[in-house]
């Protein structure tokens, strides 16, 4: 996913001299091609995230389009006030790119688990929050961020996610992407849980449950129409995200459903529990520990269906 981002950025940078890339002393084996080709528009900002965001704001106020990159919580939590007061308040074209969303860095421990980032970013006025579901979505989200006039938060996974889409989807900020239609339930994911939802839908189909699969790369602004259509047409919605159950996709969908009138829809949020994990393990291991395996998704849908509509 990160390589898809860098390739898309390079494709743009060739045509648009306003594009700059700042890295927070990270990006080994990812940014080298950009550094070589666009050396004057790449800066390793050092381990100084607050300054990185401030400098990006000053550049953007001077007409540049800046992508800043770091991993895990470093480009969000460490410099949250700079993101709020500098980037969002001035409403500038600064795009904060994070590598290692959710539990990607599994065994490295809790400091490297980015599991509350979307909640923070979503609460900031002017901020757009995007977590692509696979490398193709990341590739299309990158130019969409650059051409979006205000700030974006682009939450990427690792380098090894499976491609889920067979061809380039029609990516548009604020729009859900339907991968599979269904009439009995809807699985909505943001970010890399997309592949798990596709697998879960396949298993559910074998058990006679027709599940719609929506990729929701944009958590803010949320595609309310797609949520309401799914609620009305399938009667069951399960949100699945590699993020705390507080404040992310599940919360955003819950807000839409709670305020909708006349909709009878069973709803569950699946996400990282509101706790720090003391388990040690890789991403797959930790996802299972948080109840986010494919089987967990399947069982959640089946349980909701049993409750009846």
């Amino acid at each position: 996913m990160r390589k898809a981002f860098v390739q898309a950025l390079m494709d743009m940078a060739g045509d648009d001299e306003r594009i700059h890339l700042f890295a927070g002393d990270l990006g080994f084996s990812i940014f080298e091609p950009f550094m070589e080709k666009f050396s004057s528009r790449y800066i390793n900002m050092g381990v100084a995230e607050q300054n990185m965001i401030g400098v990006a704001t000053g550049m953007a106020l001077s007409g540049k389009i800046v992508f800043v990159y770091s991993i895990a919580n470093f480009p969000t939590f460490r410099c949250l006030e700079q993101i709020r007061n500098d980037v969002c308040y001035h409403n500038v074209n600064v795009n904060i790119v994070m590598g290692g969303g959710g539990l990607s860095y599994g065994s490295l421990g809790v400091t490297h688990h980015a599991t509350e980032d979307m909640a923070l970013m979503r609460a900031l006025p002017n901020m757009t929050v995007i977590a692509p579901g696979d490398p193709l979505e990341a590739e299309q989200a990158t130019p969409a961020c650059a051409s979006w006039p205000g700030p974006c938060y682009l939450r990427l996974g690792k380098t090894t996610e499976p491609g889920v889409h067979e061809s380039l989807p029609s990516f548009s900020i604020g729009r859900a992407i339907m991968l599979r239609d269904g009439k009995d339930a809807t699985l909505i994911s943001t970010g890399c849980m997309l592949y798990s939802n596709v697998q879960a839908a396949e298993i559910l189909a074998g058990r006679g449950i027709s599940a719609r699969v929506l990729s929701m790369p944009t958590v803010k602004p949320l595609d309310r129409d797609a949520v309401l259509a799914a609620a009305g047409e399938t009667g069951v919605i399960v949100t699945v995200e590699e993020h705390s159950i507080i404040g992310g996709l599940g919360s955003a969908v819950a807000e839409v459903l709670a305020e909708a009138s006349g909709i009878d829809c069973k709803f569950r949020r699946m996400g990282v529990k509101d706790t720090f994990t003391h388990n040690v393990g890789n991403q797959e291991y930790l996802l299972k520990a948080h109840g986010l395996s494919v089987d967990d998704i399947v069982n959640t849908v089946i349980d909701l269906k049993k409750e009846g509509r």
């Binding site: 050092g46 401030g54 704001t57 000053g58 007409g63 540049k64 007061n85 001035h90």
Partner: protein
């Protein structure tokens, strides 16, 4: 403007008097902080800054950032004096429905960046200075910092960055009045020797009397002090400067003058209400 035609004394007195009236009317605070920078602003807006009030967005303009955004009342007066917006706006400073909030705010004509939380101004200024280098533009970036700004780690991150990238088009002016939000710097976080700190971060630093117009002007005309190095002016100042009973007193970070105190203060400045 040739320097002998600029009456900095009169300009700085107008800033101080108007600030007193604004803060009194609004019952707001941060008076000492604003009076502290009045002389620096008089020189910047009187002569140094290459700006055009008729075209606030002129791409070649110098950029001024008030990192100590709470001292904004003084900047609003300077901007109104230069014609960026009507003087009438000053009357409603801080009040409901005003154009002018109590911390410096982007969108007010002539304001380059919002600030209010400390430690934000120098990084943003570095971004503007870097953009000038990228585009081969000649404008300069002037950032006024407070003692409190120098407590923030982000300021020193930016100090490292400006040196690394040879930003000789940025100037940090520290309003070094040695009183921060709730005490003297000596008793809270001692910044001394401050000029040496900037120097050790790779800046070319000079110390001046921040109320001596001639010293301020000479320092600002001498920028960059060294090529390929950012410049720092450590301006020794007095919080609340110009009104004897407000000088060097942390209380005037918070207090608003009553009617009698306003009269006395204006009397000291030699202006009428």
């Amino acid at each position: 403007m040739p320097e002998d035609t600029i009456d900095y004394k009169a300009f700085s007195t107008r800033i101080r008097a108007q600030v007193l009236r604004m803060v009194h009317r609004a019952k707001s605070g941060h008076l000492g902080s604003s009076l502290s920078i009045a002389d620096i602003l008089a020189v910047l807006y009187g002569r140094i800054l290459n700006v055009d009030p008729a075209q606030p967005d002129w791409p070649e303009r110098d950029r001024f950032i008030l990192s100590k955004g709470h001292a904004v009342s003084a900047v609003y007066v300077a901007l109104a004096e230069r014609g960026f917006f009507p003087r009438d706006w000053l009357l409603n400073y801080y009040l409901n429905g005003s154009h002018l909030p109590g911390h410096i705010t982007y969108g007010v004509p002539g304001v380059e960046a919002s600030a209010g939380a400390l430690g934000h101004g120098l990084p943003i200024g570095c971004g503007m200075a870097l953009a000038a280098k990228c585009d081969d533009k000649k404008y300069r970036v002037y950032v006024i910092l407070s003692d409190g700004d120098c407590d923030e780690g982000s300021t020193w991150e930016a100090a490292l960055f400006a040196h690394q990238h040879k930003l000789d088009n940025i100037v940090a002016i520290v309003d070094y009045n040695k009183i921060q939000g709730f005490g003297r710097t000596k008793e809270v976080l001692d910044l001394d020797p401050l000029a040496e700190k900037w120097h050790s971060f790779g800046w070319s630093a000079r110390e001046i009397d921040g109320h001596d117009h001639r010293q301020i002007e000479q320092a600002l005309l001498g920028i960059p002090f060294e090529s390929e190095r950012p410049s720092c002016i450590v301006a020794h100042t007095v919080k609340g400067k110009g009104v004897s009973f407000m000088e060097d007193d942390v209380a005037w970070h918070y207090r608003s003058p009553d009617d009698k105190q306003l009269r006395e203060a204006l009397d000291e400045l030699g202006v009428s209400e």
